[in-house]
Every structure is written in C-alpha cells, then in structure tokens.
C-alpha cells in the first residue's frame, strides 16, 4: 500500500469531498493552495484574522443549506471565538428544536513539543467535550485523519477535529481507493493481555513504544486509540479492561478534568469492568502547568515513552 503523510491525507480528504459535494465551502486564514486552485475563490475563502466572524459564519452558512469547513489553524486561536463554538455551534441545533441541520467541520491544530511556549501549546479538547452538542475527533494516523475528516464532512453536526501539530509529517499506509472511518469506533493499535493503554493523538506513538519496552519485560500491553472523543467508544475500552484488569490512560493535555479523566470514569463506573480491575487505574498526562518554553522544562511537562512504560510496569506489578 502507498505511504503518504498525515498532511497529505488530510488534503486528499478535503479534495475528495469537495469534488463530491458542491455545497462544501472552506474558510481559513492562509489559503490552502491545493483547494483554491481546484475549487476557486467562491468555495475556498481566505479570511482575515477574525476567528469569531468566520467560525460564526460557518454556522450561518450551514444553517442556510451549505456545508462549511472552517480551519482556525492552531487550536489556541479558537479561544477568541469560544462563544461561537460553545454557545452557538454546539447549542443551535438543540435550542431551535432540531429544525435545521448544521453540518460544519472545524479544524484545530493542538499539541505540545514545538518549543512554542504556553499560548501556542494547547490541548483543549476536554473543554469542548464538556459542552453538549459538538462531536470531537482526534485522529492519530494518516489513514484515520483521511477517513475521519471525510466522515466529518458528511456529518450533519458541528464536528471539531483536533490534529496534533507533530503529526503532520508522520507517514502511514493510506489506500488509493475511497474509504471512511466511522465515529465512535476505537482502533486497537496493538493486542495484549496484561495491561490496557488508552492513548490519544500523538501519545499513541509513545504508548506503542512503551508497550514494546514493557513487552521485553514480559508484560503484554494492548494499546487503544479511541480516535473520536465524542462519541467515545466506551465498549471497546471496557472490553479490553475486562480482559486485562489494568488500565493506563495517556493524554498530553493537563491532567485535571482531562479526556483521560473521562475515560477513567466511564471504565470504573461500570460495575462489571470495575470488578475485573486488578490494579488502581492510572493517568499519564501533561503536567498541570502552562507549557514552559525552554526545552528541558517542556520535555518534563509532556508524557514520554519512559513515563508511560513506568506506569505500565507499575500497574502490571500491582499485587491486589
């Protein structure tokens, strides 16, 4: 199978859907040349740095029978448009009693690790998870980003795609032929029997590395990538934990009220899964600090392969 990068896969997703559906309109600061050249300035709009205006315009466009893609580039820029995300896009279907559909794909680049300092290093997906009415995808591979973005552009609801900045140049297998990836279906990245590791976004790769390290010490690790946070594939995670009895959740975001917290909750509040636990559950998350600039400090703030492996070995060695 051919190998392409995460970025190439995401461009392909947009191109394919824009060819299929002439109601799709793209808005972003900075032009995406591949889209502009093929689909022209009517459907591919360059915006000023006015996030509230074009994040909101996506809502009006969608409510008027179009399908919108609004790309705010970096997740941190979405904060100035927060009202349009959480008070408008998220609630508008519901508040109006479902009388109109709002098919919108919002794209945000998240993530730490670029020495970008506190304001440009954010993982805000759990903030949006706390607002009913949004769907949230967090693809980690080229295959998934293409398939999930395509599904998002066919969905009739506001969807936010969080794409880690460090993933753009990651290569992976992507078929030539058309496919989509459904929402709410986790991907089991590696099978194992002793410990379940649920990892998000870039952390999937660190978790796979840590699983390999643990394997050398005789611990068999199952790595699950939920791929979408809303809806969340609770069943696949619970089934895995029921089998292994041990759970580590890895999330680059700050620990407090994180997606990792939610994943732990949905596992332990289920009585059957709870009874199968052989060790306390663990979260390996970003530190609860604004992300520091200087590399040694930033590296310390981010979960890495070693820290994940340590957590795996700790829960694996727990004597109940």
């Amino acid at each position: 199978m051919r190998r392409i990068t995460y970025n190439q896969a995401s461009v392909e997703a947009l191109q394919e859907e824009f060819r299929k559906n002439d109601k799709l309109v793209h808005m972003a600061e900075d032009l995406q040349p591949e889209l502009f050249e093929e689909f022209g300035g009517d459907r591919v709009r360059m915006t000023p740095i006015s996030e509230s205006a074009f994040v909101g315009a996506a809502i009006g466009l969608a409510g008027s029978g179009f399908r919108a893609v609004a790309d705010v580039r970096m997740a941190t820029f979405a904060f100035v448009a927060f009202d349009q995300f959480v008070n408008q896009a998220a609630k508008i279907t519901y508040m109006f009693g479902g009388q109109a559909k709002f098919p919108i794909l919002y794209r945000q680049r998240n993530g730490l690790g670029a020495s970008a300092a506190a304001q440009h290093s954010v993982n805000p997906y759990s903030m949006y998870m706390n607002v009913a009415g949004l769907k949230i995808i967090i693809p980690s591979t080229p295959y998934d980003v293409k398939g999930l973005l395509k599904t998002a552009m066919r969905d009739n609801n506001p969807v936010i795609s969080f794409e880690h900045m460090e993933l753009g140049m990651v290569e992976g297998n992507v078929p030539e032929e058309e496919y989509t990836v459904p929402f709410g279906k986790a991907s089991i990245m590696r099978r194992g029997s002793d410990v379940t590791v649920v990892a998000l976004s870039l952390m999937v790769y660190h978790a796979l590395g840590a699983a390999e390290d643990a394997g050398k010490q005789g611990v068999s690790v199952e790595v699950i990538d939920p791929r979408t946070l809303v809806p969340l594939d609770v069943e696949t995670i619970r089934n895995s934990v029921a089998k292994t009895g041990r759970l580590v959740v890895v999330d680059e975001a700050c620990k407090t009220c994180s997606a990792a917290s939610e994943i732990l909750s949905v596992v332990v509040e289920d009585a059957d899964t709870f009874r199968s636990l052989k060790a306390p559950t663990r979260r390996v998350c970003g530190l609860d600090v604004p992300v520091p600039f200087s590399p040694p400090m930033e590296k310390y703030a981010i979960p890495d392969r070693e820290r994940i492996a340590e957590a795996i070995m700790q829960v694996a060695g727990f004597k109940s």
Binding site: V25, D42, R43, R45, T47, P48, S50, S52, A53, F54, V55, G56, A57, A58, I59, G60, L61, A62, G63, S64, G65, F66, A68, V80, D83, Q84, N87, Q88, I92, T93, Y94, M95, F96, G97, G98, Q99, A100, K101, F102, A132, G133, K135, N156, N157
Partner: protein, 320 residues
C-alpha cells in the same frame, strides 16, 4: 417611490401585531404563566416592520435577544411563537428555546440569540450563502447599540465588506445596553458613521417612523440585491419596557425620557397618518380587533398545548 395606502396598512398591521403580542406576553409574564428571560420590543416595532417589509421569504434574518418583533415581521406563526414562550411541545423549538431562541428556518428566520453580538458572525454566513446562491437574495441582522461595542461587530462588518456580501446590518439604537446608556458606552454620537471605516455605506433613519424605515430599507435592500455589498443602517429608537420582564429589575432611565419617547409612539403616528390618508377609524379598530382575536387564539393554543415530556430533553442534541 412613495409608500401607498395598502403598504401603510400592511406596515401598521405588522407593528400592531408585534405590540399586541408583546403586551400579552408581558401580562402573562406578570401572571406567572411565562417564565425566564423575556426581552420585549415594544416601542421599536417600526424597525422590524419597515426592514422586513422589503425582504423576500427566502431572504434570511438573524435576530437578537429582543427578537419577537423580527420573527413576527418575517412572517412567523404567532401560535407557535406563543407556545414556545410558554415552553410547550408545540412551540417553534419544542420548548427547548423559549423567548430568546425563537427561529423558523422555513421563512428564513435563522434565530434569535441570547448573546449580544453573536448573531452578526452567523449573519455573515447567511450573507455568504445568499451570495453563493446567486438568486439576488439578501440577509439582514438586527442588533442594538450594545452589540455595536462587541468585537464581533468589528469582525463581521469587516468580513462582510471584504467579501462584498449582500448583508444589511440593522443597528437598533435604543439608547441603552441593558441599563448602560449609549451616551456612556458608545464613544461616538452616532453608530452609522462607523460604516465608513469598513468601506460600506452607513445610513441613519428615525427608527420610530415606519414609513421612513421602509423607504430607506427598500433602497438599501435593492442595491444590496444587485451586488452593492453590505450596508449599516442605524435606526434611532427606544424600548418602552425595562431590559427584560423581571419585576424587581430596576429601570434607571429618567422617567421624562421614557415618557417623551412614548409620545413618539410609531403606532400612534401611523394611525394618524392612516386617518389623514382616508382610512376610517372603523378600519383601524377592526384591524386591532382582528389582531387581538388572533393573539387570544395563540394564547389558548399555548395554554392547551402539552408540555414536553421530561425525557424529550435528550432529543435534538444532534441531527441525524
């Protein structure tokens, strides 16, 4: 082109329907039959009536928290409006929205909005939709002097001008943002003059003179339909009630000021004009009685309609 008698009667009917509808809402609020935050439009009827008189059914409007008048002027069904205000299942939003979130997408009413200024970006999207549809459609957004001080005003005016959207910004300057006087919170004497900064025409009109609003709107809407781009129309007006219908909510506005504006009642002025144009008092009172009957029927419909089932709260979070 002058406004002929038929058109005068139509404008009068719209204003009177808004007035009588809201008087009844106010009464039912005082009686405890209507709950929540209810912002009445009484005193400003000429704006909605005059602007919407120039819109087609497929033109789209976006409204504010003070939205009953815009809905009625755009042609909404007052039975379903009243039922929504009562929180009933038969309301426009199945009881999920209430007074602040009435919408009727079938007539291009894209919703009232509880967040000051937030409708403007959404209207940019509606304007973009109209531009892409190429049917000489327009969009209009209603907001107050308070919203003119929101960042979204700047972003939306700017983006609409950059894209030359067919969008009418209707600023209803009623001199108060909640309790804060415009003379304090708006740095310039007028708001329409801001249009020049965005390279669009700005026009001011007596917002209590429905004929003036109608004639100015007719000209502006016609130009905008033909590709003339966005425009800012400031309507100087006044609301008679307090910011919202909450009995202990203090009204700090000078009593003489309120009374002087009540003397400039747009509906009383129109009655005079109609009588002078040869309309009989009977015709006018027949119209009033007909409206009162329709409102009585709307209240009956709302009262007799069932409340939603509690579990209906779980529906419409997402569209299928």
């Amino acid at each position: 082109m002058e406004t002929d008698r038929n058109e005068l009667m139509k404008l009068h009917r719209t204003m009177l329907t808004i007035r009588r509808f809201e008087e009844r809402v106010s009464l039912e609020y005082a009686r405890g039959n209507v709950l929540g935050y209810v912002h009445l439009y009484i005193g400003q009827e000429a704006v909605a009536a005059g602007v919407c008189n120039n819109l087609r059914i497929d033109d789209r409007i976006v409204s504010s928290h003070r939205g009953h008048g815009h809905s009625i002027a755009k042609g909404a069904d007052i039975k379903r409006m009243m039922a929504e205000i009562y929180g009933k299942k038969t309301g426009y939003c199945k009881g999920k929205g209430g007074s602040m979130h009435i919408a009727d997408f079938s007539i291009g009413m894209l919703g009232a909005n509880g967040i000051v200024g937030a409708g403007m970006p959404i209207a940019v999207g509606a304007g973009l939709a109209a531009q892409l549809e190429k049917k000489e459609g327009v969009a209009a957004v209603f907001f107050g002097d308070g919203a003119s001080q929101e960042g979204e005003f700047h972003e939306s005016m700017s983006l609409a001008a950059i894209w030359k959207l067919p969008l009418i910004f209707v600023c209803e300057n009623n001199l108060y943002a909640s309790g804060t006087p415009a003379r304090y919170a708006v740095p310039t004497k007028d708001i329409y003059t801001k249009a020049e900064s965005y390279g669009m025409p700005g026009v001011v009109v007596d917002g209590n003179d429905v004929v003036a609003v109608n004639e100015v709107a007719r000209e502006l809407v016609a130009k905008t339909r033909k590709g003339g781009g966005p425009v800012l129309l400031e309507c100087k007006t006044y609301r008679w009630h307090t910011h919202f219908e909450l009995a202990p909510f203090p009204d700090l506005r000078p009593k003489e000021e309120v009374e002087s504006w009540m003397k400039k009642c747009p509906i009383a002025a129109m009655e005079k004009r109609l009588l002078a144009a040869g309309t009989s008092e009977k015709e006018i009172s027949d119209m009033n009685n007909g409206i009162l009957e329709r409102i009585e029927a709307a209240v009956k419909y709302a009262e007799e309609s069932p409340f939603p089932d509690p579990e209906d709260a779980l529906e419409d979070v997402y569209s299928s």
